[in-house]
Symmetry: D2
Subunit: 364 residues, 4 copies
């Protein structure tokens, strides 16, 4: 069938929802046909619901501007209007959890950006290059809930994306990582809109992001986990200690990483080779949003920089620079990724592309 | 004698030089009577030499505006016009080294902000709260050079100041520190003027500062060293690994620190007590620029922040927040200091106050 | 009586309320003894009500930190606890109007920062240097409402303060101004907290501030009006056309002004003389917050600049630079004032000082 | 002939030079085959000459990275290596003037971004939509100098571009403009690299740009001039008064404009219609860099904004918002253009495209 898959966006008026709509504008497989948000926006044309606060580039994509916004709390409204949904809901964790389940129960798969279901045991938390095999738990998830076609898949916290692929590449190449100390300098778009007040971001940084460090330290281990008996068993390593700070940057999280290998220690040359040759399932499947090179290594002494490097590989690469020895651990480096592309909406779209390619959207 | 000591400022037109002039405006002991800079400025009234680029607050201090700028390369010009000098010279390292020695040879003590003499064996690199005892090498320095009244004392790199006092406090309390991983987020004023282009600091950070990480990792050990046989013998610990980044902040360096103790591990409560009760010689001597509390601990979850906390204790405190366990090392915390006050000019002035109080400026 | 006057702050947890509390910390005449805010904060200690969001410098003034926040909607709570109040209320215009009247009716004078009563006919909108004579309408106001001791006095919009004193100085010197075109570049603190999102203020400006241009164009004429028969009769000139923009600056509004004189045209030298010699009642009365020089003229080609010049004269001066001929009108210049000091809280305090000095707080 | 025209870039290592190289990366007509800069860079591979300071996106275009940089002062080096040059020279005005003439004398046309030849009587200062007819003076220019194939064409100051097309559209529609008061908020990229120090652009604006106001006020009249007897005769109107300020924005100049018509006054509706239907020769010729809509009108109350709107129509549109009556003149509006695309390199490329389409590059 040549027609595109019909897609809904939940939380369509928020920053991540808008980003989904923008990034899906000319998507080869998916087409936004349904938008839902809070009751306050329900009933309005999308263009009126985001009037004076369209955040992504100059214009709302033409096909979406005139869609009527529905109430995201009413999952039945979506029936027949879209085949699966991207969830960019912004509400309480328990509410999101219940609502995502309600969509799944109606037979509508949910590809979620929210943190609510990240720790649900049978919900895969996907970085397609790393843990595509976690898709295997979806069958168990469906069975457990008695869901027929619907299911839930999530993506991890945006700040992790900044360094998980290079870590995975090293582990996979036979160099397990034991411990890491990470400091992140995170962009304000990560907090949504209105998000961080300008009063806090002019001539200032804020050395704290609520809940971020805990997420970072924990989610890492689930992402690197293995599927056993229909469940994801977390990895034990690496142990991560992170400090997350907010800096006056629009898009692009930067991570300063020091790490210690568990046993063998590759040379800097080997590491660079491992990173630049890193490819995985999304590249093999040639998924539309997959970066050709998931990891890009730069040699300038002062890179990566958010404004210059965030758009590398359509905003889907992890850009690394300053690889050098660490005199406390083994190596240190600086890593960067686009938090609202790789780290949020485009990462979610890549998840959906993987699900589609693996047949999870057949027969919807 | 009630009259103030006459002071010269070398490199008086640069940002640190201007900061010295501003901070000495109403100093109880010192009075700026001599300003020197590059030959390009020599012969001009100071106010004309810095016309349209006075950087510190709205106005040039009245007593200095009309001084004639002299050529800093000619140390003999300073004779009779000032009793000691602050060096904020901006030129090649070897040139500065030779020039500071030339002033000392003329009997003019040099209290320097420059990095040129930081590794000269018999030159003390002072943080008065930590290593006042290093003043003992000055006698050796004079003897070695055959200098009568002149000598050189320096201060360390500004970024170190952000966390050296808390480390010293812990060591002194019986908890030696073995290893530290530090990431700094440094203010642009640290690069002088014009310094970092705005093109690099709008919607951006730069994860690199030339030479800074090396300085940070090494200077730490000299500061914590001991005087033996008229020389400073460096400490062996802590081993420091640092990543230094530049962020869009005017003043105030922030450091994210993870550290491991060598043997005993104090509780978080003990650490806070050690820090808040930390006092040293500058406090005992009641030096004019000494902070009453060199270390200030904050309990808000999102502090310290540069714009809000940098002026704590006249810009001379190290402000610490977010003290918490580290799951890789023992503890982590965020620390902040004012890089052009504690970390540069006011730190230099405190050094001079210590020297004065200890009699090093007698009989000039 | 030597004791200070007891003062309440309504809207004490917002940005302007906090600024009042900070600026009154060591005020010679007034002492904050009462703080009130929304019901959400009522009952908490002030320090807890603003926990993690104290915005002005590092610490809450000691005397206020432990005050219990009362519900600002209940004017009777203030009885006996303070003699007059500063209103920094943030709610709907009609609610503020009713609430300020309720306080006045209880015998508590209200010195307001809010816009609600700016166009109430018998409420003076004060810039003490300009229209101290408008105090004369207070007697009429009290009579009209049957208020005994209470009354309301307000201050104008912050952006006007940036250029009203220089305009008034010219008019008063015999050079009435006919027309003005003004573009303002306004600081984000003018929008309160959280106020303008950082997403809008990084690598961006916003050429619109809701309602600001209309206020600017109208309020000017009331400020310059005359009292006739107990009422303020607005001036007819100057006609003002303004464009108000928001820029990434913490404090300090800048105005670019082109103006045309009504008849006689002073030389640039005369204008400078008029401005630098401008003094008025606050200076004659030596009010504690009055600037010695309400207008300061700078000659550097690139000044005034917000970060460098906003603190001039304790943040109470209008700082002018770039005075030059205009080839469309007569002259143009750039003018700057501190929007949260002169333009908000300290301007309000100066109003209260004028009221006190003129006997309006006697017998409270 | 299907091969592309070979192009040189003078001043290739500066910000505008880099922008030219990036924008010509996949140009359908032109190909960069020659790069020249100061003697300091001469002899180096281009990628080494801009090492650690490549400013435009992440990578140097592949075809240019390995070109050897030549000394721009030696025009003979360019012979045979390129057919015409873009001049983005950064040196003294008289030097540029002489050097551009030297290239022209060698038969190499110069399409210049520099201001040196803007006031040369027989050099056209082109905004292709407005004054394509000024190309007629080139014949005279060649004759006067005795140049065979070479000639010089320039573009105006970037800040003018922000509002010249809408003004021209109105004039052309029969509504001549008499007077304008303009305040610009200009991006820092306009000052090149390193350009404006970050110390001046954090929590600050600078209300002055050297020479900019004079250029703005004068160049306007040449652009709108007519060709008579082989020379450009300047227009007499509009009289412009401008204030130019620098704000912390990377790219995108904003202009706040108030204007008075000379006689007839169109309605706001008519004006919008004039603007949105504005087309000219570049659109008719379908030049590769011509915007389909040179003027774009937005209706949101808070637009245009630099970060959101600068890329409109590939960065070649003038984006207008906030069209409304002015109570001093007739109308006011806010206008925005991309200063390093429309206002610099891409504007220069459009000039070259016009020259090519009109046959000025035939037989080179």
């Amino acid at each position: 069938m040549s027609a595109k898959i019909k897609v809904g966006v939940l939380g369509a008026t928020g920053m991540v929802g808008q980003r989904y709509i923008k990034l899906l504008e000319n998507h080869p497989w998916f087409e936004v046909t349904y938008v839902a948000a809070s009751p306050r926006s329900a009933g309005k044309a999308y263009k009126d619901a985001v009037k004076n606060r369209w955040l992504i580039g100059e214009n709302i994509p033409a096909g979406v501007a005139d869609l009527t916004v529905e109430d995201a709390n009413d999952e039945k409204k979506a029936l027949g209007k879209c085949q699966f949904v991207f969830s960019a809901l912004e509400m309480g964790k328990e509410e999101i959890k219940a609502l995502e389940a309600a969509y799944a129960a109606e037979g509508i798969p949910v590809v979620s950006n929210a943190s609510a279901n990240r720790w649900t045991e049978d919900v895969p938390m996907l970085v397609p290059e790393i843990n595509y095999s976690h898709l295997d738990v979806i069958a168990e998830q469906k069975k457990h809930h008695g869901w027929d076609k619907g299911f839930i898949a999530v993506k991890p916290n945006c700040s992790l994306q900044t360094y998980m692929m290079p870590i995975h590449a090293l582990i996979q190449a036979g160099y397990p990582v034991k411990r890491m100390v990470v400091t992140t300098l995170q962009a304000t778009s990560g907090a949504g809109y209105p998000g961080v007040p300008s009063f806090d971001m002019i001539d200032n940084i804020v050395p704290f992001i609520g809940g971020e460090e805990e997420k970072t330290e924990k989610e890492c281990l689930k992402i690197l986990g293995k599927v056993q008996d229909g469940k994801i068993v977390n990895a034990e390593y690496p142990v991560v200690s992170s400090t997350c700070t907010r800096v006056p940057v629009i898009d692009g999280h930067t991570a300063c990483v020091s790490l210690e290998f568990a046993d063998k220690k590759p040379s800097l040359e080997e590491i660079e080779k491992i990173w630049t040759s890193y490819k995985s399932v999304p590249q093999e499947l040639n998924l539309p949003s997959a970066p050709e090179h998931p990891i890009v290594v730069r040699h300038e002494e002062n890179r990566p920089q958010p404004r210059r490097d965030r758009e590398t590989e359509k905003g889907m690469a992890c850009v690394i620079g300053r690889l050098r020895p660490c005199n406390v651990f083994d190596i240190k480096f600086v890593s960067l990724s686009h938090n609202t592309k790789r780290g949020a909406a485009l990462g979610g779209i890549l998840n959906a592309e993987l699900l589609k390619a693996k047949g999870f959207f057949d027969n919807l």
